[in-house]
């Protein structure tokens, strides 16, 4: 009897935690996209006004941010510094695959990869224009992610708790 109760509690707790984990991922995505947008804004000024080399600009533009996005930009900078033959796009792709805390999905990753393709290869004005465009695209994706968050985060919490309870009821 006690063993059954213990098992039931463990199943409910694990179901609940899975639900909350998914809900947190939902909440985290728009936050990370917003951080990327602010980093790109900062990178734009580091490119156009300060004219820093790309690796240093990538490190400096993350000032004030924290978490996975900071890790992503810093990893890109480290890869660029360490491997001079790599293009920014390849470095960014490698950094995306190495940063495990990122909860970004396909649309924003595609935008980021295209953002890497035009970094450091054109004039400063062109890069500024291009970064503006990337920021706009990311802002649209952020809007969609916010809508998805409002819809899904509550649903994931409910489904986690109720899924755990349903499994317990079926197994008892």
């Amino acid at each position: 009897m006690w063993l059954k109760m213990l098992g039931g509690i463990i199943i409910i707790a694990s179901g609940t935690s899975i639900g909350f984990l998914y809900a947190n991922r939902c909440c985290e995505r728009p936050r990370q996209i917003r951080q990327i947008i602010s980093c790109i804004g900062s990178l734009k000024s580091y490119i156009s006004y300060v004219s820093l080399p790309l690796a240093e600009a990538l490190i400096n533009c993350t000032n004030g941010t924290c978490g996975a996005v900071k890790e992503l930009f810093q990893k890109t900078a480290t890869i660029l510094k360490g491997n001079g033959w790599m293009t920014p796009q390849e470095a960014l792709q490698q950094a995306i695959s190495e940063t495990h805390d990122l909860v970004l999905e396909k649309p924003e990753i595609e935008v980021l990869v295209v953002f890497g393709a035009n970094l450091g290869s054109t004039s400063r004005d062109e890069q500024t224009n291009y970064l503006d465009m990337v920021q706009e695209q990311l802002a649209k994706i952020e809007c969609d992610a916010l809508k998805l968050r409002d819809q899904n985060s509550k649903m994931y919490r409910y489904l986690g708790v109720c899924g755990g309870l349903a499994v317990v009821i079926v197994l008892i």
Binding site: Q151, K154, M155, Y158, L159, C162, I169, V170
Partner: protein, 65 residues
């Protein structure tokens, strides 16, 4: 068996209704209907076993073969 199964069916019913409401609010009506169908199938599975027992008991009582 006893009342246990009745309570289990009631529990599944309550949970399925919560599932349905949560999924419908999230705009996933198809998943909500799928979930209701899954709950119905689980309950039907339990009830069919009992019905089978009922029929075999009736056969035994009336000596039907």
């Amino acid at each position: 068996m006893g009342l246990d199964l009745l309570f289990k069916i009631a529990g599944v019913g309550i949970l399925v209704s919560v599932f349905h409401t949560a999924l419908k609010q999230a705009g996933k009506e198809d998943m909500a209907h799928l979930c209701t169908l899954a709950g119905f199938t689980i309950v039907l599975f339990w009830v069919v076993q009992l019905l089978g027992r009922l029929f075999s008991t009736v056969q035994d009582v009336f000596k039907l073969f």
